[in-house]
């Protein structure tokens, strides 16, 4: 049946005669394991085409949609696996390329009449690199975007044409929508077209001139041809397939186990320490030795000179005595791999020894996990994936705190880890609103210490004096009893804060909380100075109603001089961060737009909001972070 169809097809197309050179190829010296690199390279190339075409069905190139669509691919059935294959195969392609070039160089397969095979093959090398360079940033991740920015600027430093090349690559002056469409065009259209043309010439030449049969290096004996003529199919083919299946298994294992990385969406607010991929590490290291105006020697002249040198090898070979030629080629391979390896190793070793770099990598990995977690909940808004981290208290909180609060406040755990103010002059806010933190405020040894009022004018103020008086004349069991009471008051105040982490604990012990509240208003007399719900008055100390709650904290940061908090006279040095803000007025997409707000309203005339140091949205993010109020769980099932 099938045979009949093939006969019918052959009668009309003559395909058997066309394929005859393939089917009937004979290896005069027999098959060799050394010949497998070419075939594997071709099939990995095919894997890239197939997986690339598949990925195209779900990828969308624009700064708002690229990361989101890649994340969507990761969530699609087999999407992570297909993307993982594409990712790891791109690395394998480059690795195999090097192996293949070394093999061809050592076996002398570049000799006449095979010069065109050699040249087209070498020209495929920069193409494959360009392929990787244009592919890595397509996810619009932090790392990819930073890489293409630097790479475009390297291109831009080329004399004369640099600036035009840079603009063509980026689609304009800066990385944006058009960068992604340009890179996408290069990656999926222009480079494949060029690649296929070069590959067609390459393969045509291979069939026309046949495989080299001479392998005379002693250490190549392992795969040495037997010396007996054998047809290519199946004697060589089975070797090709054996190596290929090993490589494909490795790819599948990597794609299955780890998959392709997806860093956080690019956001100029979150700065990272970008590094190139491993195949560029040697150039990255090399440029250390060429600074200033000589840098293009490392990034442009040397790579091009190297490529030209390799292309010219058939010419050198012609004038070189055969024995010397082989030694020279061995030297080129050894020196090339040696220098490449040494530079690469040095570059990695330097980073691994650099604690700042490692810390930056950790931070970026944390952002990536966070972005994926938020995206897993299906919450990517229309403005794009960058909004995920911009609206996330866990990510923005520390940045806002460091920028606005850390000149006075620390936010460091008992081991001193976290944000430590250079010159602390206000309480350490780590754990603010928890029973432990509040208990410290009621501890005569702690309240005047560095973590509480130590560096403020309240160090010997009414509150600190009261606390010290309570404990002044008691000892033994009475002191223990007093401490237990303080603990209970702390529990009651922590219940006012209603931190998300305390929700269950508060629900479990309503009596303890009620008891603490009773102590606070009656026995301990806190409401002599403080207001607490319907007890006490405002005007002499901060309000304890809703102490540490979201609303309380926002009011406190917005205007500590307000009557409900410290008032204009008692306030120490804390500035009002959002005095003019109305609680729900501002839109919710500002990240750190406070200053423009300040300027704009100032230009408009007499708007009190002109003095806001914090945008409403920033204030919310900061408070939510201080209260540990953020999404922290695995995806909710069927979350829309």
């Amino acid at each position: 049946m099938i045979g009949g169809f093939l006969d019918w097809l052959d009668a009309r197309t003559d395909y058997r005669a066309l394929l005859a050179p393939l089917r009937c190829r004979v290896l005069l010296n027999g098959p060799s394991w050394w010949f497998t690199s070419a075939s594997c390279l071709l099939w990995v190339f095919v894997i890239q085409l197939v997986t690339g075409l598949l990925l195209m069905t779900k990828y969308s190139p624009s700064t708002t949609s690229a990361w989101a669509s890649v994340h969507f691919i990761e969530q699609s059935p087999s999407g992570a696996f297909v993307r993982g294959l594409h990712y790891f195969a791109s690395h394998l392609l480059i690795l195999l390329f090097v192996v293949h070039v070394v093999r061809v160089l050592l076996s002398g397969a570049f000799r006449p009449p095979r010069e065109l095979i050699w040249i087209t093959g070498l020209l495929l090398m920069p193409l494959v690199i360009a392929w990787a360079v244009t592919g890595n940033p397509l996810s619009a991740s932090q790392k990819g975007t930073a890489q293409i920015e630097v790479e475009a600027n390297i291109l831009g430093s080329t004399p004369l044409v640099g600036s035009a090349l840079r603009r063509l690559l980026l689609g304009g002056d800066d990385v944006g929508h058009l960068t992604l469409t340009h890179l996408y065009f290069l990656h999926v259209a222009l480079l494949p077209l060029l690649g296929i043309v070069l590959l067609a010439v390459h393969l045509h030449q291979v069939y026309r001139h046949g495989l080299t049969t001479v392998i005379r290096l002693p250490f190549m004996a392992l795969g040495k041809p037997s010396g007996h003529a054998r047809p290519y199919w199946p004697y060589q083919s089975v070797r090709n397939a054996t190596v290929l299946v090993v490589l494909v298994s490795a790819l599948a294992a990597l794609a299955w186990r780890w998959g392709a990385p997806l860093e956080a969406p690019a956001d100029p607010n979150l700065t990272i320490q970008p590094r190139p991929e491993w195949y560029f590490r040697s150039l990255f290291e090399l440029r250390r030795y060429f600074t200033g105006e000589w840098e293009f020697v490392a990034t442009l002249v040397l790579p091009l000179a190297l490529l030209t040198f390799f292309i010219a090898i058939p010419l050198f070979d012609r004038v070189c005595p055969p024995k010397l030629g082989l030694t020279a080629r061995l030297f080129v391979v050894a020196a090339g791999l040696g220098v490449w390896g040494w530079l690469t190793w040095n570059s990695y070793a330097r980073d691994w020894r650099d604690p700042e770099y490692l810390a930056a990598q950790d931070k970026a990995a944390g952002w990536a996990r966070r972005a994926r977690l938020l995206a897993d909940r299906g919450r990517i808004p229309p403005e794009g994936a960058a909004a995920l981290l911009r609206g996330d208290p866990k990510v923005q909180g520390p940045l806002l705190f460091a920028r606005h609060c850390a000149s006075c406040h620390s936010h460091a755990d008992p081991r001193g880890e976290g944000i430590v103010a250079a010159e602390p002059s206000a309480p350490n806010l780590f754990g603010f609103g928890t029973p432990d933190w509040i208990e410290g405020m009621l501890d005569p040894r702690a309240i005047g210490g560095a973590n509480y009022f130590g560096h403020t004018k309240f160090a010997d103020g009414d509150m600190a004096s009261h606390v010290r008086e309570w404990f002044a004349d008691v000892s033994g069991d009475d002191a223990a009893e007093l401490r237990a009471q303080a603990r209970q008051v702390a529990r009651a105040l922590a219940a006012e804060a209603a931190l998300p982490a305390r929700r269950d604990a508060d629900l479990r012990e309503p009596e303890a909380i009620a008891g603490g509240a009773a102590l606070l208003t009656d026995e301990l007399g806190c409401t002599d100075c403080h207001k607490f719900h319907d007890q006490g008055e405002l005007g002499s100390a901060p309000d304890l109603t809703g102490y540490g709650s979201r609303e309380w904290l926002m009011g406190m940061i917005a205007d500590p001089q307000g009557e409900r908090f410290y008032g204009p006279e008692r306030n120490d040095r804390m500035p009002s961060f959002a005095k003019g803000s109305d609680a729900n007025g501002s839109d919710a997409n500002g990240s750190d737009a406070n200053r423009s707000d300040a300027n704009r309203s100032d230009a408009n005339g007499s708007d009190q909001a002109g003095y806001n140091l914090l945008h409403q949205r920033e204030l919310e993010l900061l408070v939510d972070w201080l209260r540990g109020d953020w999404v922290e769980h695995a995806p909710e099932p069927n979350d829309p």
Partner: protein, 189 residues
């Protein structure tokens, strides 16, 4: 006959070229848009910080916010740049007004974001470890290695303005971008 044949060849060539030109000329025009320097309009002049939030010798990074157009999207309010403010040491007798220098955080080398190296006495670009002193000048790295930066950090125009309401002094910065990789400072605008 011969004349006729060469004439026909010539006409075929001409017609082919004309057809190709219909495609290639608009095509080149279409692509060349990327080559045209993008007009940004005037530089952004913005108050970025209050003078009293700056202390001498302690650089502060502030954000410049403005609208940004990215091809078909207009972002009405985005961080368009970052600026390092360095307040100069005050005069001992307090006679002269305080001085503040502003530097763009964009590295003149390859455009990464310059950061403050702990503990804060110098700037460093994390990409290629170009170091700068607090006055923006490139400084040699550890072991006397020459800085990667082709020039110092790009200084921005900066002046102190007094707010008409509360009399606070503000730092007003003129934010611009500059070409990377050159030894001299060339505005991108």
């Amino acid at each position: 006959m011969f004349h006729r044949r060469s004439m026909l060849k010539w006409i075929s060539g001409a017609l082919g070229t004309a057809s190709a030109a219909v495609i290639t000329l608009p095509g080149a025009h279409f692509l060349a848009e990327a080559l045209r320097p993008h007009r940004r309009g005037q530089a952004i002049v913005q108050r970025v910080a209050r003078l009293r939030d700056l202390s001498p010798g302690r650089p502060l990074q502030v954000a410049v916010v403005g609208s940004r157009r990215d091809a078909w999207t207009l972002y009405p309010e985005e961080v368009v740049g970052r600026v390092w403010l360095v307040r100069q040491p005050d005069d001992a007798d307090g006679g002269r007004p305080p001085r503040v220098a502003a530097f763009t955080a964009v590295c003149p080398h390859l455009g990464c974001t310059i950061q403050l190296a702990p503990p804060g006495g110098r700037f460093i670009c994390p990409c290629h470890r170009a170091e700068f002193s607090l006055d923006g000048a490139p400084s040699a790295g550890p072991g006397g290695k020459k800085s990667h930066a082709p020039r110092g950090m790009d200084e921005l125009d900066c002046r102190l303005v007094r707010d008409s309401h509360d009399g606070d002094w503000w730092v007003e910065v003129t934010y611009e971008k500059f070409e990377q990789g050159l030894t001299s400072k060339v505005s991108k605008a």
